[in-house]
């Protein structure tokens, strides 16, 4: 039987997410401008924040990976990249579903959407690079540099609605003069962001543990062959 303790925070996070989604469906009021369809925000924004959080963890572990020869930072980077890719795909998927009834299209080459797609491609590229290179200093350094480039894309995504004329709506929560959202809407959204962040960090920790065990397994298998 597997070590279940590692999954407890993840299970708590998933249970809390169910409660938050029920609140998002039945408790928060309808938006005046968009109507019911705005409720997608309670999945879309937390997923986007988790994708950015993974990039922040990747930035931190990439810097440590460049400074030290410890492979643990590379494993943490890999875990953060895999989970970051999943949440970026979720952000793009929910954004696309939201885009159809509000903009009339599933996809448009808008600055926010394009830079987010670039984030997904960069995350995918990191995984391919990791698999393509053999273990050693070269792989550690190359992956760390790509990790820094990925982290650089996040402020560009965040500022894209200010730097370019976009179809995507401007910042709703963090803006000058405070948020324009209703307090009930905002509290459920912030709760969702915290819960999804907890889920993504738990997933990264679980994945990191599994990757460590996989490395141990490889070493033991090689030892038995010798």
């Amino acid at each position: 039987m597997t070590n279940r303790k590692a999954f407890i925070p993840l299970c708590i996070g998933l249970s809390a997410m169910c409660i938050q989604w029920l609140l998002a469906w039945y408790w928060v009021p309808v938006d005046d401008a968009q109507g019911e369809v705005y409720r997608i925000i309670y999945v879309h924004v937390p997923a986007a924040f988790s994708a950015f959080l993974s990039a922040a963890i990747l930035l931190f572990t990439s810097l440590l990976s460049l400074k030290s020869n410890d492979d643990r930072w590379l494993l943490t980077s890999r875990a953060a990249t895999e989970i970051g890719l999943i949440f970026t795909i979720l952000t793009l998927a929910t954004g696309s579903i939201w885009g159809k009834p509000t903009w009339g299209v599933w996809w448009t080459w808008d600055a926010r959407l394009t830079t987010t797609l670039l984030l997904a491609l960069l995350y995918g590229g990191w995984i391919l690079l990791f698999r393509a290179l053999s273990p050693g200093t070269g792989r550690r350094r190359s992956c760390a540099i790509l990790g820094l480039i990925i982290a650089l894309d996040v402020p560009i995504i965040y500022q894209s609605v200010n730097w370019w004329r976009t179809l995507h709506q401007p910042q709703t929560i963090l803006r000058r003069g405070g948020s324009t959202m209703d307090s009930d809407m905002l509290s459920v959204l912030l709760g969702g962001i915290i819960i999804m962040a907890m889920i993504s960090v738990s997933m990264i920790l679980v994945r990191y543990g599994t990757l460590g065990l996989e490395r141990e397994l490889e070493e033991k298998s090689l030892g038995e062959l010798r």
Binding site: T2, N3, A6, L10, E36, T94, I97, W98, I199, S221
Partner: protein, 52 residues
Amino acid sequence: MNDLTGSTDPFPYIFAAYTVGAICTLGVSLWLYMARLRVEQHLAILKGDRHP
């Protein structure tokens, strides 16, 4: 999706977005659990705790 007034019924879109969110989070959690279970079983076999 459009009714006679031209307005769009939002519920299929909301339902689709939440379904994608649920599949993604629960699916990844299950994948993480299965991957951990597989590695721990292989390690146990190597250590001689269990036999295949």
